[in-house]
Each structure stands twice: as structure tokens, then as C-alpha cells.
């Protein structure tokens, strides 16, 4: 956030605003944002699916026999887990790719995915906690699944903190990539924690032998697809924001170098002055 604010506050490119003013209003609105045709389609599809999921999840599908209406939290809790897992998978992939070929694309993608993943893990913990009260009788329990999920959140918050450290860009990216690779182990631990240890948490919600009835299953699938669409929409936008920040940082560095060079020309070095012989102008 700190880097983003500093980037947005500095006026680094007068040519950018001049060229933007010359563009037509439609193309200007299109280009002066992180949206594109892809994100508009994805965003509208996500919102529509979310609206339908809300109708089915909160209205058309009925309560479950044991959990009653609290089962409706399933339609946002589990899809949030899926989005978080996928995002951390992208962070892992981006980190590996960055270490292999120093690609800034994958570096920025890993960072963007980690931020979205953290957001959705927070949703997982909040909805899980709210679901725990009516079903387990408590908001929180130091159960293997809950504890490992909290640790996963902390690791990726640490990853985001590392990305904000005041270090040379390459060093920061390399260290973040190593952490992005190591952190995936925690995701695996979270996923299998209900199998490896005795847990209060139920085992995987969805499998071949699922016991959900038709409308519940439909609402659940709608939730998964809607959250995946919204997660992808957020990821593309977050990546583009990161890309623009990196571009502005480069421009700022180029301007600083030019200024430094001009300063050098305006004020000759002491050595140069000493070499001027009497009679020379």
C-alpha cells in the first residue's frame, strides 16, 4: 500500500496526462483504468452468478436437518477456501517462474495472487468462526484445521510484509519467491489436516460421496463458480495495479538519473577546473 500511495502521489509523467486529454472520452475512460473487455465480462459474469447464488443460497434452498440455516454459510465459506488455495497456487507458480527466469510478470503475478489469497483466507476464518458457534458451540477452537489455517494466513501476511521491505527490487523479489515456494507446504498441511489429525472440523465438504441434496448442491456450485470469477477479476486488476506501480517506479528512476546527469553538466568537477591552464578560457 505504501508503495502504491507514493506512486500515485508523484506526478512523474506530464506527457501521460497530455496524451490522455487528447484521447476521445470513451477511449480515455477505457485506458485510464485497469479495466478491459476481459475484466468487464468477468466482472459482470461474477456479479450475475453471485446474485443468483444469493437467491438460491438464502431463499430457494432449504435448511439442513442438523445445521439448520447455518448451512447457508457453506456457500461462501468453501468457495472462499477454493479461491485462497488457487491464489496461493498461483503465488507458488509465479515464485518458481521468477526464480527460473527473473520474469517481472511472474513476480508481480505472485504478489497479486498472495494479496487476494490473504483476503479470502480472512473470509474463510470469519465465516468459519461464525459457522462454528451454532454447530460446535464456540467461535474458536485450537483445532488442527483452524490452527493451520491461521498459520497459513500469518505466513502469507509475512510474505506481503516482505514485499514491502525497503530492499533493492531484485533482492526483495528473490526472497519473496523463496517464501512463496516454502509457504505452499502450509497450504498442503491445511488441506490434509482433517485427515492427518483428529479434528473437530468436518472432512472435505465436497467429494464423490457428497450427501448434499439437489438445491444445496446447486447453490454450492453457483457459489464456487461466482467466487472463482470474482477472484479472477480481482487478480487481473491487482496484477495491473502492480504492473503500473513498477512502470512508474522505473520512470521515476529514469527521471532521477537524467536530473543527476544534468546537475553534473551544470557544475563541473573540481578536477576539471584544476586542469584548466592559465590563458585558456
Amino acid at each position: 500500500m505504501g508503495r502504491a500511495q507514493s506512486s500515485s502521489e508523484a506526478d512523474v509523467s506530464p506527457s501521460a496526462s497530455a496524451s490522455a486529454d487528447a484521447a476521445t472520452p470513451a477511449s480515455r475512460a477505457q485506458r485510464l483504468s485497469t479495466s478491459s473487455r476481459l475484466t468487464r465480462v468477468l466482472g459482470i459474469a461474477g456479479l450475475l452468478l453471485l446474485g443468483i447464488m444469493l437467491a438460491f443460497g438464502l431463499w430457494f434452498s432449504g435448511p439442513e436437518i442438523a445445521m439448520r440455516d447455518s448451512v447457508r454459510l457453506l456457500y461462501i465459506h468453501v468457495p472462499s477456501v477454493f479461491v485462497a488455495y488457487l491464489c496461493f497456487g498461483v503465488t507458488f507458480l509465479g515464485s518458481v517462474q521468477y526464480l527460473r527466469n527473473q520474469s517481472s510478470f511472474w513476480d508481480l503475478m505472485a504478489h497479486a495472487a498472495a494479496e487476494i489469497g490473504v483476503l479470502f483466507v480472512v473470509f474463510v476464518l470469519v465465516t468459519g468462526s461464525l459457522w462454528g458457534k451454532p454447530t460446535w458451540g464456540t467461535y474458536w477452537q485450537w483445532d488442527p484445521r483452524l490452527t493451520s489455517t491461521s498459520m497459513m494466513l500469518l505466513m502469507y501476511v509475512g510474505y506481503l510484509a516482505l514485499r514491502r521491505l525497503d530492499l533493492p527490487g531484485e533482492v526483495r523479489s528473490q526472497r519473496a519467491a523463496v517464501l512463496g515456494i516454502v509457504s505452499i507446504l502450509n497450504v498442503i498441511v491445511v488441506h490434509y489436516s482433517v485427515k492427518w489429525w483428529r479434528s473437530l472440523h468436518q472432512s472435505q465438504t465436497f467429494g464423490i460421496d457428497t450427501q448434499m441434496d439437489g438445491l444445496m448442491l446447486f447453490s454450492f456450485f453457483l457459489g464456487v463458480i461466482a467466487f472463482l470469477a470474482i477472484g479472477a477479476w480481482l487478480l487481473v486488476h491487482r496484477f495491473r495495479v502492480g504492473w503500473m506501480e513498477s512502470q512508474l517506479d522505473e520512470i521515476r528512476l529514469e527521471h532521477a538519473l537524467v536530473e543527476r546527469r544534468n546537475e553534473g553538466r551544470a557544475y563541473p568537477r573540481e578536477d576539471d577546473l584544476l586542469q584548466v591552464r592559465p590563458g585558456e578560457s
Binding site: 500515485s8 509523467s13 485506458r31
Partner: protein, 44 residues
């Protein structure tokens, strides 16, 4: 029954997504205004 847990859950999640998405769009617009067109790769 249990709606007192369901409704806050939906508000937090959907509100959180809307808030984060809105902030992201605003941040993107501010940055895009400063970026020269030739540097806007990945935006089209």
C-alpha cells in the same frame, strides 16, 4: 434459525469483496492517469 450468524457472514464477505474491489479500481485509475500510453502494456 441461526440467521444471526448467516447474515453477518454474508455482509462481511460480500462487503469485503466490494470494498477491496472498489479500492483496487480507484488505485488503478490514479496510477493509469500518470502512466504514458506506451507503458500501458497489459492494460489493453
Amino acid at each position: 434459525m441461526h440467521w444471526e450468524f448467516v447474515i453477518p457472514g454474508y455482509i462481511i464477505v460480500l462487503g469485503g469483496i466490494a470494498l477491496y474491489g472498489g479500492l483496487l479500481i480507484r488505485r488503478g485509475r490514479r496510477l493509469a492517469e500518470q502512466l504514458p500510453p506506451e507503458r500501458r502494456r497489459f492494460l489493453d
